[in-house]
Subunit: 223 residues, 2 copies
């Protein structure tokens, strides 16, 4: 066990809730960070707060940043969320989103003197998103260690991506073993105000299939 | 001449105004980007707007992001701005600020299909800030080209830092030759509501000395 601090990117979804539980299980003091970035699925912020409270964090913060201002994605603009499977880079991709989020996490990590950032990126299901791939994460880490006072003074920061090579079913099994209550999490790209999922978008399909493959009952509230 | 687009980080200060003029002189269609990040010296945002109007841009945007929320700097919290010269990394350093700003610029560049970002970082006067050094900029560029759909599809983004090795006097001479009206720019860390500079902070000292060394009259409004 360690008393080291870690910043955890917490979206309110299934993946990042699992990551928070993993970081806690490794003994980190956890500082959870969410973003109010003009996303359509705003109920995920309420979910993130509940997850942080339930799993237990030293601090939970929401940083507001208006990415709608730069546009370009179905998640932040008026482009419709697709309900059929597509190939290539999906239009739910938000330009540079992970880079922006991890940069702010980097700033908070420096203030906290934390040398770990945990991010729930996954290259199995999100291979269409460039900023979910291992080579990108390594390049971010290299940049981060040149970007900060703390980094250049020799405290090396590590970006932890414990879900990178796991299938959705493996993530769900792992989180269930750690006691994550997935009923609190919202994965849907267009959940309603009650946190109920549409059951039809890419993210809902992936999640539903994950519970089936894991052989576990799906606690998701559908519309 | 080119019809290529470039995103220009524009702070309202002397350096970034010069950079915008340089990008324009190279024939870029310029998209200027400022940040309302809870900085003390908010008059710089009004200055940025005036500079963008005067030099001429295709679009000017301000993105709001509350970096006060993560704290850690004299520029965004209640720590006093120093009025004596100091050594090492100054307390006016905002954790990961350039990384956050360039990340958002990266997102906008992708939406615009721009392959250039111009940043007024300088390693001569700001050697104390890790995120103003060439090795950091190169690492950011490498990361950026793995971060975006556009980057991984082979459109390589370049981070332009035309001021990197220039002294303040050289920057002022260059900008003056390009017609920059430095009376519009604000460098002071604690300018008042009328845009008048304190004349005492690090940034004021550097600027004043620059005009003297350049042998040009200083149009700065002092309190």
């Amino acid at each position: 066990m360690t008393e080291q601090r870690a910043v955890i990117l917490l979206s309110g979804g299934l993946d990042s809730a699992t990551v928070l539980a993993m970081a806690r299980a490794q003994g980190y003091r956890c500082y959870a960070l969410s973003f109010d970035y003009g996303q359509r699925h705003r109920t995920e912020l309420q979910a993130a707060q509940k997850i942080a409270d339930r799993i237990g964090v030293d601090q939970y913060k929401t940083v507001r940043i208006d990415l709608r201002n730069i546009g370009g994605s179905a998640l932040t603009s008026d482009i419709a969320v697709p309900e059929q499977e597509s190939t290539g880079i999906p239009i739910t991709y938000v330009p540079a989103r992970n880079t922006v989020f991890m940069s702010i996490a980097l700033g908070w990590a420096e203030v906290l003197e934390a040398d770990a950032i945990f991010v729930g990126v996954n290259a199995v299901d999100y291979s269409g998103y460039p900023d979910c791939r291992p080579d990108y994460i390594h390049a971010f880490e290299a940049m981060a260690n040149l970007a900060t006072k703390r980094g250049v003074e020799g405290h090396k920061l590590k970006i932890h991506t414990p879900l990178m090579q796991l299938t959705k079913a493996q993530i769900i099994k792992e989180g269930t073993a750690l006691g994550v209550d997935y009923a609190l999490t919202i994965s849907c790209y267009q959940a309603n105000d009650f946190g109920q999922a549409c059951g039809r978008c890419d993210s809902c399909r992936l999640r539903r299939q994950g519970f089936i493959e894991a052989g576990l009952s799906d606690p998701t509230l559908y519309q």
